[in-house]
């Protein structure tokens, strides 16, 4: 068993156990950081455990690779970003440590301790703000080298390509009231709204509710608010309230139109629709800008309180507190009561401005206090060794002659707060600079949006609670629960003492960081403004300030002050940058969520898999490409009989007296005269005369028609028809999509009739059931629609059966076909067969420019119809004549198959090749034993049968000849057998 002494050896910065801490001291777990083993207790974060072990440097900065340590300990800065296993950019101060965790510093080379890239700082003179806009531009061809080097030098962790995909998902939530922030204000608002009957979702980014009450423990509590008593009571009340659902460890990322919020909880993205919202997101503690202000060991007051009270960790032994408000004194008293050596309190105010109840106690205890003093510099190279301070004269100027240094290993700054009001501003709230408070505070919000607590500039807990209760009650009323609290509307607001200093920057001669994320100094800000980037929005874009992982939480307010000062304007005139989601970084995995890529399969899918089908993707469908040998499959259709699953074909039912008129308008060819029982091939164009889709349409009986479309065009055609039906052409027409209701199989080949005859009583003789007819027929006992059509050029029948019977009918066809040598065939064999017939595939052989005249479908266009979609365009196209034609070709060499998409070229005078066309389809035809294809060619070449032309192959030119008409059975005799 580990003794207290052992613990102190391995965790020298661990304090004695005390109430309120979240660690379990009875257990010790181990993890590694940069290859070295460390100990921790369950409940520790990675950062608290490392701090307990005395580790100060957790990361290196983005640009200059300066050592960085904990700053905020609240997940609001970039200083503790580490890589954990495969996961980059983890905030060590918020991620609970786990046994066996492998933590690595990121953005270091070769190591965290000795990072050679920190030498870049020596060249910082040559890398001023915006240097990447000015340098590395020429010579252009060196850019890949620059890019590689820059990416290596600056960056945020590494995403490994072989990392297995994580499990992410999303959830949609609906509620009456959202409360963002679970501190005393948020909890109070939530309770009041819930008591009024509203359903409340309460979000907090921390693992438990309570906000600052969790770690700002008053001592003898001489102040008016006994906060330590409030916290457990509030938490208990939340637990008891069934209308509140609490989401801890959850960051609200943004507000979108109509109170649509987005939040992230671990690997889950939450999308929330709410009626009203209370913003209780607290405030960010502001860092102070002074020489070496980024040195490990310079921390914000809240960070130290978190470490001390939640994790029992003290990040230093000798503490200097730099402050401008009572919060610094609270902290000093807090630390002093824990026996910590408070080496000095440096307060920029006059002694009489300090109203801290702890003042006398601290002074009497001998804590040195420096009023009217300010910090000049943090001393040290990789960690704080001391501090340089100086007096302010009567004009508040630094009196350099009074400079003195103090020894310490921890500098804590507590100089003010920036309200975290991003959500309110995204929702349309307005803010103003309050010069008395030196804070930008919300002054108005849209209806249903309320801001409370520190986000509204209220720091006194009693006031936070009262105001939040009013806001909670109004948020509930806005959502329809209870009455509006009129008193709240008339309330003059809370009068708070000033807590924020407007002295944000202390001049000096070393580096002073404004933006820690992007390594931007106050000097950089001045340079940028001098270069003309003097508006806050331009300054942001040019310098990248506030565009780092903390999204400006640490630097926005200070930048506004610097910008105002440099321009000689006020903070109010300078304004703020626009708040945009996400407020905190979010992984792309969380945004993507669960993998949801819809896949459509036919009822025969399993059969295909069981018969070694090689599946291919066609739109959303998975279809058999072939079953091992597509050429054999094609020959089987030519010589015997084959069966293909064409279920993905679009199948639309049109009913009503208005259908013929609709078809006349939708298709380019004639329909009115198609008698019942007949089928016709049809082509659709859009209003520009471009071929949209093709397929057959059958007149089933009276007012009922059955249209088929291409497999991948089914949804497009359905929506296209719907659009026209709803735009005035719907009179007397009903449209139903039956694509999935019927599965479809094509029995193709000279023996197809013989196969079907075994399964039906229907007379299939050519006379009784000729080509391009439709009949109802029982096939294997199932009532089907039977269409005598075909894409393959052989006698063939398309069997459309109710999908539930699909497997039964398919298997019956295969059984019946066995004696005739039937074989299933896939899309590849079908493509060979259709190419032999010269049939085009819309979308493969045509594109968004192809009209029917050029695509060899002129025969279908009936310009004498009164009107149809595309007619005006087609009249013009017909009058002008086609410039290009889609035409067949044969390769001169029998074994060269040009890939689809290859260019057709002619040599120019200068030896270059001019592109005059391209190949759209090509295959070796096993029937003809030749290579055939379709291509686009200029009309003058395409219109001459036999004209030869050149195809640019990989490294050589191949010759081909124009071929008019079908390659196989040009008169279509086999179809009509």
């Amino acid at each position: 068993m580990r003794t207290e002494q052992d613990t102190l050896t391995i965790m020298p910065n661990r304090l004695q156990a005390k109430q309120g801490e979240v660690i379990d001291r009875s257990t010790t777990i181990r993890f590694t950081f940069d290859g070295r083993e460390y100990s921790a207790h369950p409940g520790d974060t990675v950062a608290s455990a490392l701090t307990a072990a005395g580790v100060k440097v957790l990361s290196r900065s983005f640009k200059y690779h300066r050592p960085r340590g904990l700053l905020c300990c609240a997940g609001h800065c970039p200083n503790c970003l580490v890589q954990i296993g495969d996961e980059p950019n983890v905030r060590a101060c918020t991620r609970p440590v786990e046994a066996g965790m492998e933590v690595q510093a990121q953005n270091v080379w070769p190591s965290l301790k000795r990072d050679l890239l920190s030498l870049t700082e020596l060249g910082s003179r040559f890398m001023p703000v915006g240097f990447y806009y000015k340098t590395f531009i020429r010579p252009q061809k060196l850019w890949p080298l620059y890019e590689h080097t820059l990416r290596h030098a600056a960056g945020l962790g590494e995403a490994h390509i072989d990392t297995p995909p994580g499990e992410f998902d999303k959830q949609y939530l609906h509620t009456d009231v959202v409360v963002a922030g679970g501190g005393p204000a948020g909890i109070s608002a939530a309770l009041t709204a819930a008591e009024a009957g509203a359903q409340v979702l309460l979000f907090d980014e921390n693992p438990t509710l309570g906000g600052h009450l969790r770690f700002t423990i008053p001592l003898e509590s001489p102040s008016s608010t006994e906060v330590s008593k409030d916290s457990p009571e509030l938490l208990e009340a939340v637990n008891q309230q069934p209308n509140i659902t609490v989401f801890t460890d959850t960051s609200v990322l943004g507000w979108y139109q109509d109170n649509w919020l987005c939040a992230v909880k671990g690997t889950r993205l939450l999308k929330i629709r709410t009626k009203s919202m209370v913003v209780a997101t607290g405030a960010y503690e502001m860092p102070l800008i002074f020489d070496n202000n980024d040195l490990p060991g310079v921390m914000l007051g809240g960070a130290v309180q978190r470490l001390v009270h939640l994790f029992g960790v003290l990040p230093g032994k000798q503490v200097v507190i730099v402050t401008a408000n009572e919060d610094g004194w609270d902290l000093a008293a807090d630390l002093h009561s824990l026996g910590v050596n408070v080496a000095a309190i440096v307060d920029e105010r006059e002694p009489n401005a300090c109203a801290s109840p702890y003042r006398d106690g601290l002074v009497n205890a001998g804590v040195p206090v420096f009023y009217r003093h300010i910090i000049l510099e943090a001393i040290g190279s990789s960690a704080v060794r001391g501090v340089m301070i100086a007096r302010l004269d009567e004009h508040s100027k630094i009196s350099r002659v009074t400079t003195q240094s103090l020894q310490c290993d921890l500098i804590v700054t507590s100089i003010g707060w920036t309200p975290a009001t991003e959500l309110a501003y995204m929702a349309g709230g307005k803010s103003e600079y309050n010069s008395d408070r030196a804070e930008i505070l919300p002054v108005s919000t849209p209806p249903g949006i309320y801001v409370v607590g520190r986000a509204a500039g209220i720091h006194v807990v009693d006031s936070q609670i009262t105001e939040a209760q009013q806001a909670g009650s109004n948020a509930a009323a806005f959502a329809g629960f209870g009455e509006f609290d009129e008193a709240a509307a008339q309330s003059p607001g809370v009068i708070e003492p000033r807590r924020t200093s407007d002295r944000v920057c202390v001049p000096g001669n070393k580096k002073r960081f404004v933006c820690y994320c992007e390594d931007v100094t106050d000097q950089d800000v001045e340079t940028a403004i001098a270069e003309g980037y003097d508006s806050i929005e331009l300054l942001k874009r040019y310098s990248t300030i506030s565009m780092g992982p903390c999204q400006g939480a640490m630097c926005s307010m200070n930048t506004i002050h610097l910008c105002a000062r440099a321009n000689g304007s006020t903070v109010q005139e300078t304004g703020t940058t626009t708040a945009r989601p996400p407020i905190t970084p979010v992984t792309l995995g969380a945004l993507a969520g669960q993998n949801m890529e819809p896949v459509q399969i036919t009822p025969i899918h399993q059969w295909h898999l069981d018969h070694s089908a090689d599946m291919m993707v066609a739109g959303l469908w998975l279809r058999p490409n072939h079953y091992g040998n597509p050429v054999a499959e094609a020959l089987c259709v030519r010589n015997r009989v084959g069966l293909i699953d064409v279920s993905p074909l679009g199948k639309l039912q049109l009913t009503g007296p208005g259908v013929p008129e609709l078809l006349e308008r939708i298709y380019i060819n004639q329909w009115r005269n198609l008698r019942a029982g007949r089928v016709r091939y049809g082509v659709m164009c859009n209003d520009e005369g471009v071929v949209l889709n093709d397929g057959v349409c059958a007149h089933l009986r009276d007012d009922t028609w059955y249209m088929t479309t291409t497999s991948t065009g089914a949804t497009t055609v359905f929506e296209w028809l719907q659009w026209w039906l709803q735009s005035g052409w719907g009179e007397g027409v009903h449209l139903t999509d039956l694509t999935d209701n019927y599965s479809a199989f094509n029995v193709a080949g000279p023996q197809s009739r013989a196969v079907l005859e075994k399964l039906t009583d229907r007379n299939l003789a050519n006379k009784a059931f000729p080509y391009m007819r439709i009949r109802s027929a029982r096939i294997a006992g199932v009532l089907c629609r039977l269409l005598r059509i075909g894409f393959t050029g052989e006698l063939s029948y398309e069997v459309h059966c109710p999908s539930g019977y699909a497997v039964h009918v398919w298997e019956a066809l295969m059984d019946a076909g066995r004696e005739f040598g039937i074989a299933p065939f896939g899309v590849e064999a079908q493509r060979i067969l259709r190419l032999e017939k010269g049939h085009i595939i819309v979308g493969q052989d045509t594109d968004a420019m192809s009209d029917p005249l050029s695509a060899n479908m002129a025969w279908a266009v009936k310009l004498d119809k009164p009107d149809f979609l595309g007619k005006p365009s087609l009249m013009r196209i017909f009058a002008e004549g086609p410039k290009q034609l889609l035409v067949g070709f044969k390769m001169v060499e029998p074994d060269v198959v040009p890939a689809e998409g290859l260019q057709i070229v002619v040599p120019e005078m200068d030896g270059q090749l001019e592109i005059i066309g391209w190949v759209t389809s090509s295959r070796f035809s096993p029937t003809l034993e030749e290579v055939i294809g379709l291509c686009w060619l200029p009309t003058e070449i395409a219109s001459q049968n036999g004209t030869s032309f050149s195809i640019r192959m990989d490294g050589h030119i191949a010759e081909a000849r124009v071929h008019h008409g079908a390659f196989y059975d040009p008169d279509g005799e086999r179809l009509r057998m």
């Binding site: 998902d169 999303k170 959830q171 949609y172 939530l173 609906h174 999308k271 629709r273 669960q594 949801m596 890529e597 819809p598 896949v599 459509q600 399969i601 036919t602 009822p603 899918h605 399993q606 959303l620 469908w621 279920s647 993905p648 039912q653 009913t655 009503g656 007296p657 007397g732 009903h734 139903t736 039956l738 694509t739 999935d740 209701n741 019927y742 005859e757 075994k758 399964l759 039906t760 009583d761 294997a780 006992g781 199932v782 109710p802 999908s803 539930g804 019977y805 699909a806 497997v807 039964h808 009918v809 019956a812 019946a816």
Partner: protein
């Protein structure tokens, strides 16, 4: 003509059920899962957590036409309100389009009745049976709302989505008709959509439901749940 086998209908989820180890039974010539593990375990999962069942055999009809509502009212002797509220398995999809859900096998009779009434009324009405074209997945259990909230943006709270009402929505990037059809006090929803997407939707629901301990259940458990 020769055909040895009696035609049997398979649901789009048949292969999925086979993969999950179901034994099968027949209902109105549909082959459907009877039991996956044991009826007791399946009933307990549905009552305490979450279960999925294949209910594709339920009859499905579409009735379209400006006068569809009045034809439905006269055929089934219903008041207008009842139709709009989605009672009696009739759900309005559009002003002139209704979806009708029937117990398995009843769709033929209902279709006949509707066709007769609309012919008599001389209204332009189209009645189409779409049972074969739609997969129907029943989500049952106390966690069903939670599960659906992971794949669909609708509010499934009973105050907003009461029992026996239906909504059309995008679910896992597909279009589905969702009907709330509680079994007594047990929350339940039917997810009805294109049959070719059925296996995909089933797999998505199973994956999203893993955290709730979702299990597939067969007809035996379904009957017992209905009896209870």
């Amino acid at each position: 003509m020769s055909t040895s086998k009696t035609p049997i209908k398979l649901t789009p989820l048949h292969a999925t059920a086979q993969r999950l180890g179901a034994t099968f039974t027949e209902q109105r010539r549909w082959r459907i899962p009877e039991v996956y593990t044991s009826p007791e375990a399946e009933i307990a999962a549905a009552q305490e957590r979450l279960a999925l069942a294949d209910e594709t055999p339920n009859g499905k009809l579409l009735i379209e036409g400006d006068q569809a509502e009045s034809v439905l009212m006269s055929t089934f002797d219903l008041g207008s309100l009842q139709i709009n509220a989605g009672r009696n398995g009739i759900y309005r999809l559009r002003n002139d389009l209704f979806f009708i859900s029937t117990p398995p096998g009843r769709e033929t009779n209902v279709q006949k009745k509707l066709t007769t009434t609309s012919a008599a009324s001389e209204q332009f009405i189209t009645v189409t049976e779409v049972t074969h074209g739609r997969a129907e997945i029943r989500v049952i259990g106390p966690d069903s709302q939670e599960l659906l909230s992971k794949v669909c943006g609708l509010d499934f709270h009973p105050s907003v989505f009461p029992n026996e009402t239906a909504k059309q929505s995008s679910l896992a990037k597909t279009t589905q008709l969702i009907i709330r059809c509680d079994i007594g006090k047990l929350s339940a929803f039917s997810i009805i959509g294109t049959q070719s997407l059925g296996p995909y939707v089933w797999d998505i629901l199973m994956e999203a439901g893993r955290e709730f301990g979702v299990v597939p259940i067969g007809r035996e458990a379904l009957l017992a749940l209905a009896d209870n």
